[in-house]
């Protein structure tokens, strides 16, 4: 069988983005003509506290029309809170917002929108059962007639025009629940742009986008900028920041730290501003070579699922990091979840230490030494209103003893050891996980899985939405795990992470493995091409799909 994707000439060269591949190359944005203009949005002395916790204090900055301002800061620095204040979701406790020189205060999100401030929020703001057009216009659908009724035709037409303007092709009558994650993001972006806004805020808009889609986004930002709109761009990825933004503002612990032109500052300087200390190496490779790595721990052969992935084979050795790269929706998470026993429909051969195993539930997977740190921390990872120690010991409860009261000491010891290892920042172990900042919640989830003492640990997007300091910590931690002899599967949509951390890279596209690259082979261009299904030599290098006769079905 041959893979049906034929290399289409020119497909690698999208018409609008001339370079085919990843590089943090700067697109040719029109030179900022805004330097001299008066600021469209000005904040001063903004403060906000939540039940005694100070999220922001005395923050001020300004943005000019046609300017892209990057808002930077660690997790929990207060960026999203600021966004919510600007969009009328939260009300500031103190401070002034000036829009085009006028002091404003927004009673409702609607008021902010009408005043010309719109945002793509960090959390998905989507109504699955409604159509694309309605998702864009919800709450302010065009009306007609008497009594006023929603003008569906006009609404859809406007949505269509909007997409045409953005040069994104989306069916406006489709229900959002049928869209992919990336498509949903574009719906959100379209919603923010559907009103001729003076200020558009994007809070980590690229977290779930692939490189190609990120370039789409860049293009849209360039359009906005050319039209004189002010853009506030929030991201933890420095390549993006340097690619799109003109100026930066840094927050730390809810305070304003610094602002300036990006042209005048280097990445390490920015990082230092954000974190307030040295971060060290972001991608510390564990230093083992393929030769020093041990025997295979996990072998997967012809692993298939009726709809999600097809004939996946790979093997993993002790002390090795294998990266899984692909576009969002490539089926990596489904594959990993199936390995973890979460998807009974999957079938194929899985061997641990050379012995075939059948994993039908997460409990069995844990028993075989497999751990899976899911990508969606909020929904799949943490149990937000349970105490920290209860989160950590959840998967190993039966190992502790049926009557937990009698073993409280032991439970807390395990929690303490792992938290110290991970440098968890918390006040006490009975604290609810919900009270921790995002990065620390992620650490609790990691601790939970380390508690099972796994031999293979699957990390699904472990640094998604994590700031640079914590990211470096997670990477350091991965290296340590490997040095202790664990085998790591690192699923990531971030090229630098995959390239920096992995010994080998498996690239998936539409549920199939396109190619397995060694660390030496892997280049950004090749990975992106493979992930898009455009690998020039795809037909040649197909060792995975050629051994059909060994397929085992059950």
């Amino acid at each position: 069988m041959s893979i049906s994707v034929m290399p289409v000439p020119g497909a690698l060269q999208p018409p609008l983005a001339p370079a085919p591949a990843f590089t943090p190359e700067v697109l040719e944005f029109p030179a900022s003509a805004s330097a001299a203009m008066a600021p469209v949005l000005e904040l001063s002395g903004i403060g906000k506290r939540f039940q005694g916790i100070v999220a922001l204090r005395d923050v001020g900055f300004s943005v000019r029309p046609g300017e892209v301002m990057a808002l930077l800061g660690e997790n929990g620095a207060g960026k999203s809170t600021l966004v919510k204040i600007l969009t009328g979701i939260h009300r500031p406790d103190e401070g002034v917002i000036r829009l085009a020189g006028q002091a404003v205060s927004f009673a409702t999100p609607q008021a902010a929108m009408q005043a010309g401030i719109t945002a793509v929020h960090q959390e998905t703001v989507m109504f699955e059962e409604l159509t694309v057009a309605e998702n864009i216009c919800i709450g302010r659908q065009p009306l007609c007639g008497l009594p006023p009724r929603i003008d569906w035709r006009r609404m859809e037409e406007e949505a269509r025009q909007l997409f045409a303007r953005l040069e994104v092709d989306l069916p406006v009558q489709a229900r959002v629940k049928d869209l992919s994650v990336a498509q949903r993001h574009f719906v959100e972006i379209a919603r923010a742009l559907s009103q001729r806004a003076q200020v558009v805020i994007m809070d980590e808009p690229t977290a779930a986008l692939s490189q190609r889609e990120i370039r789409e986004l860049y293009r849209i930002i360039a359009q906005l900028r050319a039209a004189g709109t002010a853009v506030i761009f929030i991201s933890h990825k420095f390549d993006e920041i340097f690619a799109v933004a003109d100026r930066y503002t840094v927050l730390r612990d809810g305070r304003f730290i610094a602002a300036g032109a990006l042209a005048d500052i280097s990445e390490p300087q920015l990082v230092a501003l954000m974190v307030g200390r040295e971060v060290g190496q972001v991608f510390p490779h564990h230093g083992q070579t393929p030769e020093t790595a041990g025997a295979p721990v996990l072998e997967v052969e012809n692993f298939s699922h009726p709809t999600e992935f097809h004939e996946v084979s790979f093997s993993l050795r002790r002390g090795e990091v294998i990266g899984f790269y692909g576009l969002v929706g490539a089926g990596r998470s489904e594959l990993m979840q199936a390995l973890f026993g979460l998807s009974p429909a999957a079938h194929g051969k899985v061997l641990i230490d050379g012995k075939p195993i059948h994993v039908n539930s997460p409990a069995e997977a844990i028993a075989h030494g497999i751990a899976y740190v899911p990508e969606d921390r909020q929904h799949q990872g943490a149990l937000l209103s349970l105490p920290i120690f209860q989160n950590i010991t959840l998967p190993i409860l039966s190992g502790i003893g049926f009557f937990l009261r009698r073993h409280r000491r032991r439970e807390l010891d395990i929690a303490r050891r792992l938290s110290e290892q991970l440098e968890l920042k918390a006040t006490h172990f009975h604290q609810q996980v919900a009270q921790l900042s995002g990065g620390n919640q992620q650490k609790v989830v990691l601790a939970k899985w380390l508690a099972t003492n796994p031999r293979v640990i699957i990390l699904d997007e472990p640094t998604k939405g994590i700031d640079i300091g914590s990211k470096a910590a997670v990477h350091r931690f991965i290296s340590e795990l490997v040095q202790q002899g664990l085998a790591v599967i690192l699923v990531s949509s971030e090229l630098p992470e995959v390239l920096g951390m992995a010994d080998r890279v498996v690239v998936m596209h539409q549920g199939t493995v396109q190619k397995v690259f060694s660390r030496a082979e892997a280049t950004p261009e090749l990975l992106v091409a493979a992930a898009s299904g455009n690998l020039p030599s795809a037909t040649g290098s197909d060792p995975i799909n050629s051994d059909k006769e060994t397929m085992s079905c059950h």
């Binding site: 979701i89 939260h90 009300r91 973890f340 979460l342 539930s361 997460p362 409990a363 069995e364 997977a365 844990i366 028993a367 075989h368 899976y372 899911p374 929904h379 799949q380 990872g381 943490a382 149990l383 937000l384 209103s385 349970l386 209860q390 959840l394 998967p395 190993i396 409860l397 039966s398 190992g399 502790i400 003893g401 049926f402 009557f403 937990l404 009261r405 032991r410 010891d413 395990i414 303490r416 050891r417 792992l418 938290s419 110290e420 290892q421 991970l422 440098e423 968890l424 920042k425 918390a426 006040t427 006490h428 172990f429 009975h430 604290q431 939970k448 508690a451 099972t452 003492n453 202790q484």
Partner: protein
């Protein structure tokens, strides 16, 4: 076998603790510092105070209230309902609900009547009653877990089905002539003072409290109620727990049916009509969150006693039952609304 490996891994986890000593930048203490004011924020404390207040007011206003035999007798009024409230609390903590409990009582009572009719010995009747409850719970649980249906919908349907089946069997007849043993348990006393159903309740409540608050089993129930997906990802057999809780609820409803049948000595299809709402009310009053993941057995038990005292007081004052429903409704609304109102509108 998974548990064995778990033990191993837990041990191993403790071992690595010693091999990889590390000092963190951060200090984490075991517990938050204790403040007396925090105690007042506990729902159980408030319920306890309410119970004391109700008790004192009743003692002052009602001449016949403070009389040990009377108080003991008053427990007959709520013991069976309370027995079902215990597993119902677990179900609600687990984000499920069972509306069909009172219908299960009816069906259990009917099968006991049938069994009695065909000469099953007295002890066998307990078995029959509880087994019927288990079967009903199993049906609910299977429908909920296999078809991924919301439990409120399933149990609305099965409520109609179970009570309907009871009426199919009974028609316009009634089962009576239950053996002595059954009525001993339904309305007898231990040592001539402690009503047996209440004693059963106390034992059951202790067991449930221990299970929920002291064991891995209870911990997992909280985990499921808190975040079912994350619980499943953590290796908990979520559906198995759900199924088990439905079965447990059915079994307790069966047990309640045994006591109730013993107490009133007859079975009609409309037995225990409308109890499900009283049971759910008491569970919610006990501080169990309808959104799941929170609540304690102590709270539920206190709510049972409080409500029992309130209704008993009202009955002694000869206030008609329907006025009592107003009182209970207002109590429910105020207890959930008061904290919200006192805290003021949540600030944005």
């Amino acid at each position: 076998m998974s548990s064995i490996t778990d033990t191993a891994s837990a041990k191993a986890a403790t071992n690595t603790a010693t091999t990889a000593p590390r000092t963190s930048r951060y200090q984490i203490s075991e517990r938050g510092s204790f403040r007396a004011a925090d105690l007042l924020r506990h729902w159980e404390t408030l319920l306890g105070l309410l119970l004391i207040a109700v008790f004192c007011i009743n003692c002052l206003l009602l001449p016949h209230f403070f009389d040990l035999t009377n108080l003991a007798d008053s427990t007959f009024n709520f013991s069976e309902k309370a027995l079902i409230a215990l597993p119902m609390a677990l179900l609600i903590i687990c984000r499920e609900i069972d509306i069909s409990v009172s219908a299960i009582i009816a069906l259990s009572s009917v099968t006991m009547g049938l069994a009695n009719h065909y000469g099953v010995p007295a002890y066998g009747l307990f078995f029959v009653g509880i087994a019927t409850g288990v079967a009903c719970g199993l049906l609910n649980g299977l429908l909920v877990t296999r078809f991924a249906l919301p439990s409120i919908v399933v149990t609305i349907g099965s409520m109609s089905l179970f009570r309907g089946l009871a009426s199919v069997v009974l028609g316009d007849q009634a089962f009576t002539n239950y053996p002595e043993l059954l009525s001993d348990w339904g309305q007898g006393y231990f040592f001539d003072v402690l009503p047996r159903p209440f004693a059963v309740l106390i034992v059951a409540a202790a067991v449930f409290a221990l299970l929920l608050h002291g064991t891995t089993w209870g911990r997992r129930i909280y985990a499921i109620g808190n975040n079912p997906v994350a619980a499943r990802f953590s290796g908990i057999a979520v559906d198995r727990y759900r199924l088990m809780l439905f079965v447990l609820t059915g079994a307790m409803a069966g047990l309640a049916a045994c006591l109730l049948t013993g107490r009133i000595g007859s079975t009609r299809p409309n037995i225990a009509l409308g109890w499900e709402l009283e049971i759910i009310t008491v569970v919610i009053l006990g501080g169990v969150s309808i959104a799941g993941g929170a609540g304690t057995m102590g709270g539920v038990l206190l709510a049972i006693l409080t409500l029992g005292m309130v209704t008993y007081g009202l009955a002694l004052a000869n206030i008609p039952g329907i006025i009592m429903t107003i009182v209970v409704g207002v109590l429910l609304l105020t207890t959930i609304a008061a904290p919200r109102l006192l805290r003021g509108k949540s600030s944005r």
